[in-house]
Symmetry: C2
Subunit: 412 residues, 2 copies
């Protein structure tokens, strides 16, 4: 356990250094995330998901880990937050307000997605920024956009701009309730009034996530009907083991806070052990990216590749599950994922992790960041695992939010 | 040459049999294209690109190849054409008319893409259907939709429904002019008045395609500015060798018809030899799917995979180039691609070709058809190569259109 803790903490330091060194745009604010093997910027586009995620990550590290309470981390996070507030919102289309998916270096909207995720990562950024800076306006903005997202997800999706088509039946995609559950956990931490405000939403998220347990409890399916029934075709049979594992630790975290023993058990058994059992590649090791529950060949070209982030989610999930249950079998799973992950993804020479391997485990893409890989899954995983291991080892806890807020006020 | 011809003709027979046996939806019309290794339907969705392409392919084979003038081929094509006419058009959005991208089995629109390609393959289908059935209404429909596409591409793209964003500068993507050039060749064959109508459009397509020759003639880039300048970032450096080769034979075919020797030379040297030189994998053989002209790692996860269709395009390109030039180096290229292709893609057991291999050439996806693979690239390649080889060998020509039309009238 000590060995895990020390290796993980050292790796977190190396990973954070990579982003500090290569990703800051000192001219316009915000972050470059298209970074090559050595950290060189190969594209200046700024993806809003990744801008929001990096602001969140920097703020969280600054707020809760003593050794990351460094001015340059806070300054970059604040500049990233201002960049988002000034540029993330695309020109309104037909009266509806949407965040862009990506921006030019100087912040002009390039593309808008008809989903909720740019806004979700924007909320994550604003909320954590409010906590670290103590600035109320960021929290007001986080709540405003959260309410907009909830409106799209639960009341009326027309503001997303997706045309309604007669053959396009409404779907419960797991990404939506699990993302909203993640935001509920973020927004309500230490805030009783918000915990009250979002408690019904939390229950809705849990119920909508649990609907993805299908086939008499034998499979997690990524897309089900609004009524929780299996859908026809590839969409209905689609499985994403990394996503299920991530939903697993979101659910477990929520269950711990709620003291819900039944939900704890479901989170571990159905959303962790089950997807691991089917998703782990027995021949080559590592988690497959996509699967078809009936064993058909997925149509996604990358289905058999090994991506970094499902492994990050699996590490968090199994370590959190072990903390909660002290079941040694869960620590074994953690250790198994750890061995594959640390022997395949980190780049000892240039820092950060590679993201994309072939099924056999060799390097398929040598970039460190791209349109979907930024300063998020790797440091979040290392940070959470370090915190969990500190808890297991009885080490010193994170500084209190108030201390962090004070320190931050001193700097600004 | 005889050996090539016989193997290709035999393979064309096997491939056509696969689609005849497995893809026809006798209940609703149209074609299943999501077919597994043995031809089993693993999803009933109908992708409009592939519906249009299969109608075109069946009609072209019926019209021009004696042994395919079979009632079941014509009947399936006619049923596919009626399915398209009845169902391809999605409910209008904000007054603008668009074909869907995919449909339910019974023809309800599921999704609409904000591009021109569904409509392009619809035109291809309607025009060839008009030729084979002699029905004027199909030709009228082909021209009506062609004019709509040209309006989107050259006058006003707003009907596509893509929001204009301040950071989204207009781009000349090679797919647009090369697709339109393909349609011009299709629509004008044997029709003097249409050749007149579309002659200026043909010149525009050629000019817009030639703008993709960049870096002082040393590279074909997939996306350039409206003014033909290189674009920044990944988009600007993106290369798609298979697409360049396909554009090459479209250009060469056009140049032959126009008697344009300069364009012939450019088509062969810049759009065939150049992308082959950089796109052929020296270590493992086969054509890479995507490249970055500066050698950065592409961000597309599938960049290093070997797909069936670039190999199909390369076979047509080099054989057509050889027919035109009788340069033995071009026959060598054809032979080189032929050896890789025939030793990797065809499935001797179940028929049709696999579509998706790893960089090393092993099977990555075992499906025979999917959202982007249908009855098109493989049979078109084999059909065109057979025709070209027949020409080289001085064999009998295709039956005349009038004979085909007569035969078809007899059936209907």
């Amino acid at each position: 356990m000590e060995r895990f803790r020390d290796q993980i903490a050292a790796e977190l330091d190396r990973v954070v250094e990579f982003w500090l060194k290569h990703s800051h745009d000192k001219e316009y604010g915000g972050f470059f995330t298209c970074l090559g093997r050595e950290g060189q910027v190969y594209d200046e586009l700024k993806y809003v998901w990744l801008q929001g995620r990096q602001v969140w990550m920097y703020c969280r590290l600054y707020r809760t880990v003593e050794r990351f309470r460094r001015p340059e981390i806070l300054e970059a996070a604040v500049a990233g937050g201002e960049f988002l507030r000034s540029h993330a919102w695309a020109p309104p289309l037909g009266g509806s307000q949407k965040c862009a998916f990506c921006l030019t270096r100087d912040g002009r909207a390039v593309k808008v997605q008809r989903t909720i995720f740019s806004e979700c990562f924007y909320v994550l950024a604003m909320d954590e920024l409010a906590r670290v800076t103590g600035e109320q306006r960021h929290q007001v903005e986080a709540e405003r956009v959260m309410d907009l997202i909830v409106h799209w997800a639960r009341v009326d999706p027309s503001g997303l701009g997706r045309p309604e088509m007669p053959g396009d039946i409404p779907v419960n995609s797991m990404a939506i309730p699990m993302m909203l559950l993640c935001l509920v956990e973020q927004l309500t931490e230490g805030r009783a009034s918000l915990a009250e405000k979002y408690s019904e939403l939390g229950r809705w998220c849990v119920q909508r996530t649990l609907q993805h347990i299908q086939r008499d409890g034998a499979a997690i399916l990524e897309h089900v009907s609004e009524e929780g029934e299996e859908l026809p075709g590839c969409q209905g049979r689609h499985q994403n083991p990394g996503h299920a594992l991530e939903a697993g630790w979101f659910l477990l975290q929520h269950a711990v806070r709620q003291g819900d023993e039944e939900l704890k058990k479901t989170a571990v058994e159905k959303f962790m052990l089950l997807p691991f059992q089917t998703g782990w590649d027995q021949q080559h090791g590592g988690l497959l990216y996509f699967q078809d529950v009936d064993g058909c060949c997925p149509t996604q070209l990358e289905w058999s590749m090994k991506l970094w982030w499902p492994h990050c989610e699996a590490l968090i999930a199994f370590l959190m599950a072990y903390c909660q249950t002290r079941d040694p079998a869960l620590l074994d799973r953690f250790s198994q994922v750890y061995d594959y992950t640390f022997s395949h993804f980190p780049d000892a020479e240039q820092g950060e992790w590679f993201g994309y391997l072939t099924q056999q485990g060799s390097l398929a893409l040598d970039l460190k960041g791209g349109p979907f890989k930024g300063c998020f899954h790797v440091p979040r995983c290392l940070y959470m695992c370090e915190q969990l291991l500190d808890g297991l080892l009885g080490k010193s806890q994170a500084p209190s939010p108030s201390r962090v807020t004070q320190a931050c006020r001193g700097i600004r």
